[in-house]
Amino acid sequence: MTSRPLLLIVLLATFTAAIFIVELTTGPSSIDFSNVFMNLINPEDIDQNGPNSGALNAGSTSVGLGLDSIIFLEIRLPRALLAVSIGATLGLAGAALQGLLRNPLAGPGLMGVSNCAALGAVIALYFGWSGVSIYAVPIAGMTGAALSVLMIFLLAGQNSSIMTLLLAGVAVNAVASSLISLALNLAPNPYAMSEMVFWLLGSIANRSMSDFYLALPFMLVGWLLILTSGRFLNALSLGEDTAQSLGFHLGRERGIIISGVALSVGAAVSVSGNVGFVGLLVPHLLRPLVGHEPGRLLLASALGGALLVLLADVAVQSFTPGHELKLGVVTALVGGPFFLYLIIKTRNSLI
């Protein structure tokens, strides 16, 4: 009874690790990994015969590293790490929200969490706060995400039905989208506008390690908060009253999940922009494989999300080299039709 979910976790982790390596080897320029490996062990000893080994000493962090190593460390590695962490965040947040609202249609995208985070980040970009502090965009993103979840609960009121919560989420999402459109409309120049639009489309190309380091602590704290809520989510499958009678403090546990979602999704969105549908798709696909248990779904969804975003990013780089599609465009292209399928499949069982 316990072996099957464990097997699933091991399988997902193995696939994620494998695609992570594929992601590291994918990119417009081919790099020689034995070169990189030797170079990282012994930075001073640059292989002068390698194809990309012209010693590049301009960047101060890269003194003594060959071009291959620089591409690896400053382009490939942050991209792959971001794919994993953002995918894990979205999968985990989706599983947590679906468990909290006991509804397979909930997710950071549909509930407006992603869009509110994006709105926060767009506001920071619009007013140029990103120039003031590197933390401005992620903090604005997280504030947006937190506000969205708070607003959903305020709008729906206490002891609200699941349907009311979902409706509130959809409404918050609509408000956030319209405000994003307003920001684009008022953009001071076409260049600023295209910058915001490209950012909104969702991508993890051309991010640096410092982007990753910036978002990581917030995502880690968010993950931890969500992962500790597994037991509560399990209890919630018997309804809120019963969960309370099983010893859970409803308000506190809800708060933990909401903060976890806000922190991790806010940080993720502020680095990558909107990568949609991962949070909806992944928990839904994996749920039957963990016996529909919301607590067990959390870790599986985190791994599944990481795997899906890695796969999408490998696809983005492999299929359209030269004119790369944005990651968010690809996940939406796959996720949209899946969402339609989900509606058709569940329309008879929705109350």
């Binding site: 009874m1 099983l246 010893g247 016996g291 529909h292 919301p294």
Partner: protein, 258 residues
């Protein structure tokens, strides 16, 4: 264990739902809460389960204020079965019953051998061992209810509070469910059950509490509470009451004209 509510007042938007209600549940007692729709039965049960904040009064478990007891501790003493017996995901029966062990687990620990033994025992008591591997959403209403009762047995709580557990069941499963609750009380536990079926209430409960518009109208042994004039006053119906060898039978005849 003794659960006691004293002078409970509860208002929703200015409307009094419970008016100065006092009730005590003792060891070995199966208490039936009866009364018309909207009388306040569910509200009173939720107050007793510490799920509903009340405006005034106090709630005591073994003479100790319930608010001073840690939630996890309290969960080991009192379990609650919600109306409609919800189960939101298609969980495996064994895993659902295992949820009853949640008050004993910390966030990272797994079920111990002891927990599994308790779960197996709970499933045996509720007679659902054969359903162990089934998915709860594929069960019949009666089977599902027994699964949820097994969940409460797995919590090993002394006091079981159940809101209309038999409302949607056929007579066989109604009897089965009431027997399970009665056996729980015979084993030293106690239970408060909201019921609409007066015959079942008369047959299985040690004591009945008839609620009318937020007040306790009548309280006592079933044959004292269930008298034609009491029922006429509270429910507004005329009944015929037969005392047969298989117990009391209440037959609703007509609505009194008012």
């Amino acid at each position: 264990m003794k659960l006691q509510a004293k002078n409970i007042e509860l208002k929703f938007d200015g409307n009094s739902v419970l008016k100065n209600i006092s009730i005590a549940i003792d060891k070995n007692e199966l208490v039936g809460l009866i009364g018309p729709n909207g009388a306040g039965k569910t509200s009173l049960l939720r107050v007793l389960a510490n799920l509903q904040k009340y405006d005034s009064g106090e709630l005591l478990l073994n003479e100790q204020a319930i608010n001073s007891i840690n939630r996890k501790q309290l969960a080991k003493h009192i379990s609650y079965l919600a109306q409609g017996a919800p189960a939101h995901w298609p969980l495996e029966v064994y895993r659902l019953v295992a949820l009853g062990r949640l008050p004993y687990l910390n966030p990272w620990s797994n079920l111990s051998a002891e927990d599994n033994a308790v779960i197996a025992q709970a499933m045996a008591l509720a007679e659902i061992e054969h359903l162990s591997g089934r998915i709860v959403s594929t069960l019949s209403g009666g089977e599902r209810l027994r699964v949820l009762i097994a969940r409460m047995f797995a919590t090993q709580s002394n006091i079981i509070l159940a809101d209309e557990p038999i409302a949607a069941l056929d007579p066989y499963h109604q009897l089965h469910t009431m027997e399970l609750l009665r056996e729980h009380c015979d084993r030293g536990g106690s239970s408060v059950v909201v019921l609409h079926d007066l015959n079942m209430a008369a047959r299985f409960c040690h004591r009945l509490v008839l609620i009318d518009q937020g007040n306790i109208a009548f309280e006592g042994k079933p044959d004292c509470v269930l008298q034609t004039e009491n029922i006429a006053q509270v429910y507004g119906i005329e009944t015929q009451i037969l005392h047969t060898e298989s117990g009391m039978t209440i037959i609703p005849k007509s609505r009194t004209s008012n």
